[in-house]
Symmetry: C2
Subunit: 225 residues, 2 copies
Amino acid sequence: MENFRPEAVPNPAVRRLSLYLRQLEAFKRQDQRTISSKQLGESLALTDAQVRKDLAYFGQFGHPGIGYRVDDLIARVKHILGTDKIWNVLLVGAGNLGLALMAYKGFENQGFRIVAVFDSDPGKVNTGRGVFVIQPLSELQPTIQKLGIRLGIIAVPADSAQAVADQLVATGIQGIFNFAPVSLSVPSHVGVSAVDLAVQLEQLSFLVNIHTTAQQQVPARDAST
Amino acid sequence: MENFRPEAVPNPAVRRLSLYLRQLEAFKRQDQRTISSKQLGESLALTDAQVRKDLAYFGQFGHPGIGYRVDDLIARVKHILGTDKIWNVLLVGAGNLGLALMAYKGFENQGFRIVAVFDSDPGKVNTGRGVFVIQPLSELQPTIQKLGIRLGIIAVPADSAQAVADQLVATGIQGIFNFAPVSLSVPSHVGVSAVDLAVQLEQLSFLVNIHTTAQQQVPARDAST
DNA sequence: GGATGTGAATGCATTCACAGCA
DNA sequence: TGCTGTGAATGCATTCACATCC
């Protein structure tokens, strides 16, 4: 088995591993058996050296003169990322976002299965949403134990997110996927991954503003058609 | 006005600027008039030096011996990020995710207003979804010009995302907020910000796996209570 | 005294360039 | 020859530490 020291792997390399996996699956769909670091890099606008170094953090997967065997690399990357098996996941928050997440097919494809849904609103509890029955938060602990849940998704408003996180941590959950626009504080043994729409929107706004401003510096001499 | 060279600003600093803004608004709600880099940093688990350096990339906003005036800094950061005015935004894709985005109040609060919704499915076109009427993609160009839209959100399946991006670029859109799990390729004058659930999930899975593995190295001697 | 802004020093990530293997 | 894996060199971001100002 590949053996690597996680603390020696740069964070950006782990991010890119996900991108490699997706490209590899695309290449596989096109029946490509083998791929070079150059090809894989070009498909993602990265250098070949970057690709090789990233993969080498995790083990020796390539074959000099040949490249990487696509099937093999997919399997290895999935194993490294932990997506070679099913994760049972719970969802807290059955608002608009929660509903969209319940309906989202992508989770299942990636090996993440939402198996329980919770909401603090008594009006929502025990109503069915698709295949899910919404439970009260008091059921967190027994449900987690019964179903062997290790990951939780937080899709509640900002002001209750930290409280929900605390509850999840108390039940022994190991990872939190946070959609609320706040930085959660959790013990170091709990993993957190966040989707922060506010931050992303502001980044986009900043990017566009820069371009617009740069344009203004070269006053818009209309040279069209 | 503050004047900074965008190319001299590290990307991570721009990300953190968004976080600073959110904290500043929280401090303002608690009627705090002034804040030091130390306070601001602690609230986000960053060092004071980091905060000062980040802000200094954009101008001189602080007062030695005093700190930063909260109101003032909020206004300046908003101006830098470009969220001190309303952005008209269009949305392509009226599936589950699109519906959630239409219902999401956070956009409006941040100064992003969805003013038009498009979908390629003829069965959805001209149906109303809340306050929105879904238009066919053929209406992109005229709508963008009529409403002065500069940003587009892509909430369509992976296999049509690049085609939609190409159409948006062709209409002269300046920024794209991409929810589809693909790396879009667009000209360099078009800004892209992406939310990639697949990548985020895999990061979380990786994080949790590391902790689990580390735990296994010290075999679970139960020392509870 | 209490705080900012910033050059200098450190640390981390990427790129280079090449030895070595199929 | 073609390609990987990797030490060495570079480049970028963070942290330190201090001159400066209210």
